[in-house]
Point group: C2
Chain length 258, copies 2
DNA sequence: CCATCTTTGTGCACGCGTTCACAAAGGCAT
DNA sequence: ATGCCTTTGTGAACGCGTGCACAAAGATGG
């Protein structure tokens, strides 16, 4: 029916939409919290609130996994934790390597969230010989020369890049050549990888810039509105308006493309 | 026509789609690199490649900002850098506070990417009295008791939360009450904020879980395919298949919902 | 055993984002 | 000046994701 002529089943993984996959960890976290409080069952409404999403969306998401709920009752917390964990592949062990042990790399190595869910830091790798052998988060730092050997010896398939931007692509290439097929990139660089390799990107600078855009828009809105609607969060707006020393020159021309 | 009854124009900011806004920083970064190499103009095709996107998408994105290109030539690099910077609000100064100076908070404080684009760390804030006054990234750590005073004295409207999950909502509430209207949240918590406050979330654990999902699927695909297509990235697959000690029990039942 | 009430699972419609494909626009050489 | 060649800007179609609204399913009480 809806399947029609399916050119690229690669995007849709096993029929689970990407957007749903991205929310499963959120549900899992909420469910884990409920599990720790020994809550036996939960309704889609409650769980959706806890996860910060719409309940219809949550139900539709779960429907892709199967019919794991009981009508009139809700979902069994423990069972759902198991199902989602299995779907996400968290029932197995995922060794990861962190490449680039600067401030950020060290912080991630120390981060507890790693081990909590099947992920295990197999090695810390840095290019600086001065770092080699040093202890970070109770683990010795390896030299990047041993990258291939470490990856293959530990069966690592997930790599985390926390190098400076300039080194990221080079490190990425070596990781991929060594067999890594999933990369979490913290460097401010667009990585190019062969098909079949997944890259996810975490970029502080980009996130801040997106926030700045909306912040600017909010300020402009309030300025333009003047005494219009209820002034939300008035303190911040007042201050921002007062601080703008470049005057109302920057953004007034509403370049509405006709 | 398609607009119909438009309840919430809040989502679309000044006509620029959210997806486009999220890509502007990417373009800006690529353009800045070109600018440093003194490249005068760039075509949509080149720039798109550098930014890792489709050229048609890039042109459509730019079309929301106005007609800044010259047909037959391309875009003027310097001019475009200026226009995007202005659109993103980067021509003004954005003081930010970082709350929670643990490993991650300290790493972010040291991160150079902050200052590079109009963002300035105005204060580091922590709840631990033992941290107060300590120097991190050449800056004294303030106590959380002074949070409101710091925010108002510096006109801060962007806050970064790097506390443990348990403290995040509480810190968030205080930030919002003090006038913060944009929050970048690194804590593994769903923050609830009043309308008009933007929250963006960076979650290492979620990113890893998403990668694990795809990784698992890739492994399953290769196992199922057997000797089918060209075995991409064969080393990793072989190893993964060999390492799976739980046998083919976990994921074979294709629960294809009829 | 039946009625009622709760909650799931999903068909459907809508809107956003992406991509294609092409006409309009402008530079450049002759 | 004119024609060609490159590249932009965008109309239109398509597909994905979201949310509504409701019927089906099952629990619960009498």
């Amino acid at each position: 029916m809806a399947t029609g002529r399916n050119h690229r089943p690669a995007t849709r993984s096993r029929g689970i939409p990407e957007a749903t996959v991205a929310r499963l960890p959120l549900y899992l976290r909420a469910l884990t919290a409920l599990s720790e409080r020994s809550v036996p069952t939960v309704s889609s409404e409650e769980l959706a609130t806890a996860a910060g999403v719409n309940s219809a969306k949550l139900r539709k998401d779960f429907s892709y996994l199967g019919s794991y709920g009981t009508r009139g009752v809700g979902y069994d917390v423990e069972y759902l934790v198991y199902q989602i964990s299995r779907e996400l592949g968290l029932t197995q062990d995922w060794p990861v390597v962190i490449v680039g042990i600067g401030n950020l790399g060290a912080a991630l190595a120390n981060y507890g969230g790693f081990a909590s869910r099947g992920f295990r830091v197999a090695a810390l790798i840095d290019a600086d010989p001065a770092m080699t052998g040093r202890q970070v988060a109770g683990m010795g730092v390896s030299h990047v020369d041993d990258l291939e050997q470490i990856i293959q010896a530990n069966g690592v398939s997930i790599g985390v890049i926390t190098t400076p931007g300039g080194a990221a692509q080079q490190v990425c290439d070596r990781l991929v050549a060594a067999g890594i097929t999933s990369i979490l990139n913290f460097a401010p660089t667009v990585l190019s990888v062969p098909e079949g390799v997944d890259v996810r990107k975490v970029d502080l600078s980009i996130e801040l810039q997106i926030l700045a855009f909306h912040e600017q828009r909010k300020a402009a809105d309030e300025l333009a509105a003047g005494r219009n609607g209820t002034p939300r969060v008035p303190a911040a707006v007042e201050r921002r308006a007062g601080r703008a020393e470049d005057g109302p020159e920057g953004d007034i021309p509403a370049v509405m493309p006709a």
